[in-house]
Symmetry: C2
Subunit: 213 residues, 2 copies
DNA sequence: ATTTGAAATTTAACAGTGTTAAGTTTCCTG
DNA sequence: CAGGAAACTTAACACTGTTAAATTTCAAAT
């Protein structure tokens, strides 16, 4: 009985249409501009039909971000071939910043907004797997740097170091996304600031005597 | 005719009551939880009365943040007595992080949320004055560090350096405020991460040969 | 062929939001 | 006592996300 399969196929098709319509609005205009009624109009369904496919608005839009999250992890893994762990950390920073500028609205929701949702299917989302989990990839790189004696001797906690590096990258991006239009500050370009902060961080983390790039 | 003065006094009294009621809600529950109707109820006025005193909700709540902004600048100026410019930078970082944790909702609005308002009375807000403008204080400290030859020779742009330092501090705080409850990551404590990132940054910025603290 | 019944969707409605326009009170001035 | 600005209230608008109930759709079972 391939009939249930067809039903599920149709169900998924509608689900996909919702996600696509939502994505278009979300990318172009941000979270608040996405409304159930606008999505519904775009896909020619009634607004409440969406609730059959998604629990609520936040769950729906966070699903879009999950897709982007994968694309970030993918970008990280393209760096895996770089042999030098320290240089890899710099490149991770660069990729992270690029992600932020090219997916501003996703970035805002993923990293600048507290989630009301409690996730449970972590295992299914590739949590901890370097290929799907950007943070795991970063931690693994830090571990390699520690193991190869590239970092200062006091730096023994990979998570702490990883979170400091992440914070540095996040700081530049987040400040840019939130305050770039604020003329209170004479802003320098994002890439310039990002290069400085990443190099400074790696430079400050690396053990003395290690060749400088 | 002191009658106009009395009127203005009353006017300011109502204005203040609005701000106080709004602050209580804002501090305890954040931006979205502050509604015109809840403020109105608290001060026993009709909701629309608020519009006589404030253009709109965002303007009202951003005025609260301006007050906090002053208190941040004040905290910075308490550091001015520290003679060593590099140590002063570390202390600025510490004070900034402390501000973030003790004023989370203000911090979110001030530094993590794009403003729809275009300010104009910058001059009146002490823009550029170290005593009232935290960023100006930071830039001034960086300038001193550069002038005293404490920073690497390539670092000649005070704004760039200041923004990198700010980004570092902001990164830790912002990530904490947005994602501390996300169990995806094994979070290290805010202060631990903040100490590491600030020391690493200063360490990476300072000219070789300068004493390490 | 017709009932059954679950799945998918729509209609109607609720409770809330910020905000504007119009009407009303208050109270000093001429 | 009339005029009029200032301060405020009432009523309403145009939205929002979301729930409950009614309806359609359509394959399976009688």
């Amino acid at each position: 009985m391939g009939i249930n399969e067809r039903r599920e196929r149709e169900r998924k098709a509608v689900r996909k249409k919702i996600l696509e319509a939502a994505r278009e609005l979300f990318v172009a205009e941000g979270y608040d501009a996405v409304t159930m009624r606008r999505i519904a109009e775009a896909i020619e369904y009634s607004p409440t039909a969406i609730y059959f496919h998604f629990k609520d608005k936040e769950t729906l839009i966070r699903e879009l971000c999950k897709e982007d999250s994968s694309s970030l992890a993918k970008a990280f893994n393209a760096i895996a071939k770089e042999p030098d762990a320290l240089e890899r950390l710099r490149k991770i920073g660069r990729a992270y910043v690029e992600f932020g500028v090219s997916h501003p609205n996703s970035y805002r929701l993923m990293f600048m907004t507290q989630s009301k949702i409690k996730e449970d299917d972590y295992a299914e989302m590739g949590h901890g797997k370097q290929e799907e989990d950007g943070y795991a990839f970063l931690v693994a790189t830090v571990i390699e740097a520690i193991d190869k004696g590239l970092l200062r001797k006091v730096l023994v906690d990979p998570h702490l170091v990883a979170q400091a590096i992440w914070s540095a990258g996040h700081g530049v991006v987040a400040l840019h996304l939130a305050k770039r239009d604020d003329p209170w500050v004479e802003w320098r370009s994002l890439t310039e600031t990002a290069e400085l902060i990443m190099h400074t961080m790696i430079n400050g983390l690396k053990r003395e005597g290690i060749a400088h790039d």
